[in-house]
Structures are given as structure tokens and as C-alpha cells.
Symmetry: C2
Amino acid sequence: MPKLSARSVAAPASPIRRLYPLAVEAKKRGKKVYHLNIGQPDIPTPAAFMRGVHEATVKVLDYAPSPGIPEAMEALARYYGECGLQVAKEEVLITIGGSEGITFALTIACDPGDQVLVPEPFYPNYLGYARLTNVEIVPITTCREDGFHLPPRREIEAHIGPRTKAILFSHPGNPTGVVYTKAELEMVVDIALRHDLFIISDEVYREFVYEGGHTSLLTFSEVRDRAILVDSISKRLSACGARIGAFVSRNKDVMAAANKCATIRLSAPTFEQLGLVAFMADPNHRAVVEEMIGEYRMRRDLFCKELLDIPGITFRVPEGAFYVMMGLPVEDSEAFIRWMLTDYPGPETVMLAPGSGFYVTPGLGKDEARGAYVLKADDLRRACAVLADGLSTFNRARAGEVVAGRG
Amino acid sequence: MPKLSARSVAAPASPIRRLYPLAVEAKKRGKKVYHLNIGQPDIPTPAAFMRGVHEATVKVLDYAPSPGIPEAMEALARYYGECGLQVAKEEVLITIGGSEGITFALTIACDPGDQVLVPEPFYPNYLGYARLTNVEIVPITTCREDGFHLPPRREIEAHIGPRTKAILFSHPGNPTGVVYTKAELEMVVDIALRHDLFIISDEVYREFVYEGGHTSLLTFSEVRDRAILVDSISKRLSACGARIGAFVSRNKDVMAAANKCATIRLSAPTFEQLGLVAFMADPNHRAVVEEMIGEYRMRRDLFCKELLDIPGITFRVPEGAFYVMMGLPVEDSEAFIRWMLTDYPGPETVMLAPGSGFYVTPGLGKDEARGAYVLKADDLRRACAVLADGLSTFNRARAGEVVAGRG
């Protein structure tokens, strides 16, 4: 057979992919698995969205306009207005999820071989988007002790070279939950101006902020021409399967380029755009989102409180998103997570996402894991109890092995 | 502002994009425009599909599995079975339209800078997929006199070089309507084997065949490991806005690579997959498709008969799809189509797609245009009458100008 392209076979399997089959097997053996590893909200999708889909009167399901159904673009522009961001309809392009928005942004900012700076740990799919667009990710390492806030300016600038075209980050952060301060964002803006870079701000968790406020990249007028906001309704509407996101820019040339990208793939799915329109037409829509955020705030507080009671687990309480990136009292978190799926006794277990999967710098994150608080309060409590017992059982078993090995 | 990437600004505006605003203006002036230029079916989407969407019981709209909802993959595998192709569920991956299927295929077959052979004239979006994946399209020119059938083997092989990785074609063809004979496909298969190429067969019009039969690339067992079928429900379910297509291969490594591509973009939209499942569960589904094809056959016969009556228009009756690529009795079809939108008198006009937009070889297709028979019979008849009158008025006006210029 012909050889597959290097880019299609290059990606190493991520740790979570290696572990997933073990979770499936554990469940087949009758085990209950608390999935703290995934970022899939469990809260029902709002009824207004569902009504929009179910009651859509479509006779011929023809191509939607490439930049989006006008009412859906308007709905999102209105949403940003509600958040204090003045955005025109033409500055919003509906994308097939946040995934497509980032792919478009990388395509527009970079030619093959160009580089983007990304604070690590970061969402592993960024590596996929970068590989498919032939862009190189240059990591800016942040650490747990600093709550994953940005390093000093000189450390960031040291990574900028002639092929650096953009800075990309998720804000609030996945997997870190970090919400940058205004001063941090001002530093990023200043770096982008001085080095002539695009800033790609992935704000899919923009509503999930529990401490202070969230400052959107779009509020900085100095970067009107270089700021790209990537957004999605996946998280705040509990509608990951809708595949509806947005690419927002106030730069006409950038929007023209994004429109070309959109034209090539023809259109985003119709019914889900109509769901969004119906949701935004519901006069109660802000309250629906705020109620959901309230539930996540309660879960964050609960999850962090429970984690703090587990000996050896270290983290700073995250300001946003729905993740805690924690240090575990083990040498190799992947080995521990595997053991929890294969060897931990009893009827229940917990799955976390190994930290190393969120770093590109070799060796980093080995003792870390990401926990997502997308379970109901009782399940979160139970998951933490199982995790605590798992850690002490695992470490006792290891200590016993070491002793046995010495004897 | 930072410079946009070369790839995002490279594409020249296609002729149809230049003309589209003129059609909008014509309609604003109260003109009725018969759109023979677009490939958007006008036939209602089947009721069973719509019911599948409207009655879907989804509580949390979570990510669908990346390769597709299992029932949707099964539904397509069953569909291929009904067409005489034995395909396992695992050999089918649900894509976000045929567009994504071709993008995946190019990504897997080619690294940046590699080449694919494509018979021209071809679907212009292929250029977009190729640009986004940094692949070069090498055209194999076919011509109207041959009904756009393939040239002799040596002409195709003359274009193969060290960076050629695949042959890509739509079959039946857009814009040509050509359906390749078994002998032609055997030649392609043989070329692919000899030169170690992938074959990417875009069969989104696979049901739209009016003469003889359609031989799918998947019927050739010699190319089990190098054949990639790209499919879509857009045309045969009159559901372009669903964004549901398929990537089919019997090669496990190719499917593994396609699954990686699919994982990166997370999932295809859920409701439209459920629509497909419901459609295929309708015991009447074959009859629904066949009735639709019957309507298109009638339209093709009608359209071709009407076109044959227009002096100077030349074409060979196409065997499939829903297009006629015709020669017009004008020097520059784009100038004529523009004139029809801006200067043609009376309450009605016709829009065609200029032929040059389907070629990459400079100068080709200048006197050609693509007509799509996606209108009801009466409208098709009327559109042809307007086209006939337009051509003679245009040519008289031009002759007058020439005479005036001489005078």
C-alpha cells in the first residue's frame, strides 16, 4: 500500500487514549467509574435550545450561509453585547465548534513551518490543530505553584523568533482553570504589539469564572487588528454535540480570510444554529446560564474542599473553567491512574486525566493529573473519597513492593 | 497589523463569487433570476430524516463519538450493502460533509508539498481543500468533445512525478456529469497500482446515474488498501445543510489515521446523524431516493432537449450528477453571464456558473458554463427560453458594437 503521510501517523497516542480501553474493561467487569477525566458537562442542555431544534420548520435542508445563518450571527453578537463587548454581526463567523475556530485562526496567522506560543499545560487538541495546519507549538511553561499564571515577560519574549506569528491560550484555562489578571493580559497585549503577533484567545470557558472577573481579549482596543476570539456554545449551553462555535475579529482582512476558510467547508450544521437562535430569543437565557455557573461554583468549592483533605494532593484553587490541575503524591500519575482502573479493589474507581498529556516539554506533568468537576455533588464527594483511598492503597502497595524488593 | 499567512490570502476570487453580488442586485431591482449556477437541490428533504431530528430525545447534547454515532455508521454501512458494496461499520467514518472527507483524505495521502492528480474541469472547492492541506493539484485535462471522459493512459502517466501521492476525482463528475466506464476505472486502478498512489473517489453523486450503471471504486479488490471513498448524504437526501458525509476505506491504517483526524475535531453534529439513522430505518427509504432520481432523470432529459434547441450551445448528454457543462456561442462566458445579470432586458434572467472556474489550466473553459438542473420542469423550460433569447440578444448587441466600432 502507499505510505501514509508523515503528518497523519506522527502523533503519539495521548496517555488518556492509552487508558481509555482500561476504563471500558473495568466497566465491563461491573465496576462503577467516576469520570473525573473528561470535560463533558452533565447538566441538561437548555430547553429553549432543544425547542429551537425540535420545532425548526425546514422544508429543504439546504446549505446554510458559510459565515453562519444571519440570525445565529446576530444572536452571538447580542450575547457579546450582553457581556459588554461591542461586536457587529459581520465580526462574528459561526464555526463548527471551537475546534474549527482555532484551526481557522492558525491557518490565517501562520504558514506551514511558522510557530505559535502557547502557555503549557494546554488543551492537547491544540497539538492536533497545529499538526493539521503544519504549525509548530512553542510552549511557555507555567507551574502549579503559581496557579499556572504567566511567567515574567522576559521568559515569554525569550521564546519569540522570526517564525513566531501568534500567541494562543485558552482563557479561562483548560486544564488549569487559570483566569489571567488584567495586568497579565496587558503584558500579553504589549508583547504582541512589540513583536507584531496575533493573539488567539480561546474563550470557550468565558462564563465559567468564580473569582474576580473575566477580561476578554476583545476589551483591549490596542489589539483590535490582531485579536482573534475563539468561542463555543459547547460548555455554557451544555451542548458539546452541537458543534457551534464562533470566530470573532474586528479586523476586516482577518474576517475576509476566515470567510474564505468557511466557504471551503460550505456551512456549519443548520439545526444547531437554529437551537442557538431560539436559546438567545428566550428572555430568560441569562438566568439559565447563571444558574448553571452557580452549580459549577458550588461544585468547584466542594471539589477543592474535598481535595484539600486528601493527604499529599497539591494545587491552588483555580479561578475558572471546571478543572483542577493537581499534583498527586505519586511519582507517575499515569501509572497510578492505570492501577486505579486495573487493580484498585472494590466496586468503584476514579479516572483522572494524566498531567503529562497537557505538556509538550518532556518530563513535565508526570506527577500531575487533571480533575474535571462535571459530576453531581454526591458523586464528586464519593469520587474524592475513592481517590483518597486509592492513593493511600497504591502508595502502601508500592512501599510494600519496595520493601519486598529490598528483602 | 501582523501579516496574514500567504495561504489565507492566496486564493483568487472565483468567477462565481465575482458575479454573485450582481445577481443580488438584479433581484433587488425586481428581476427574477433562474439560478442554474448552483448545485443545491430544491426537492424537500425526506420526512423520515426530518422526523429523526424533530423527535430525537436528547437530554444532554454531549459530544458524539468522533468516528460517528454507531447507529449512523451502521446505517451507512447498510446503505453501501444495499448498493452491493460489502463494508463493515468500522470501515465507515462519519464526516462533517463530503468536504471534510476530502480534507481527511488529502491530509492522510499527502504531506505538505505533495501532489494529487485531478481530472479537470473539477469542483472548485478541491482547490480550497488542497490549499488548506498544502497539497498541489495537478490537472489532467479532459474535454467537452469526449464528454469529459479520461484521456489515454500515457497522458495521465505523463503527469506523475515523485511527489504524486493520489488521484482524486468526483464520480459522477461535478461539473461534468461524466460517469466513467468500467474500462476507464480499470485504467485508473492499474495506474494507481503501478505508481503506488491512493485513489480518492468522491461519490457524493453516486445515486445520480441515468445511463448504464455506476461502478464504485470500492468494487475493485486490487485497490482495497489504496481506495478511499468520500461520500455525503447532501445530494441524495436533499440535505446539504446536514453536513453529514462519510470517509470509507478497507485499509486499517488509513482508518486509524482518519480516526485521528476525527478525534482532533471531536465530533460531527448529533441531530443530523440521528436524522440519517431515522431515514435509513424507514422501510421505504430506497423508494424515496429512487423517486428523487427519477425526477432528476426527467429534468436531465428535459434540460438537454431544451439546450439542444438553442443555436450554438454544444455538449454531450451527461450520464450522471445534475449538471451540464456546455459550450456557449460566445468568446467569454463570464462576460455573457455578467451581461445577463446587469444588461439583459425584461423581468427575468438566468445565471450560469462560468466554465473557467472549474479549470486550473489558464485559458480553458472560457467559452463554457455549467448549468445545474435543480429547478422544477416549468422553471427549467422557462430558464432555457430566457437563455436562448439572452444569447441571441447578447450576440446581436456585440455584433452591433463591432459594426459601430468599425463605422
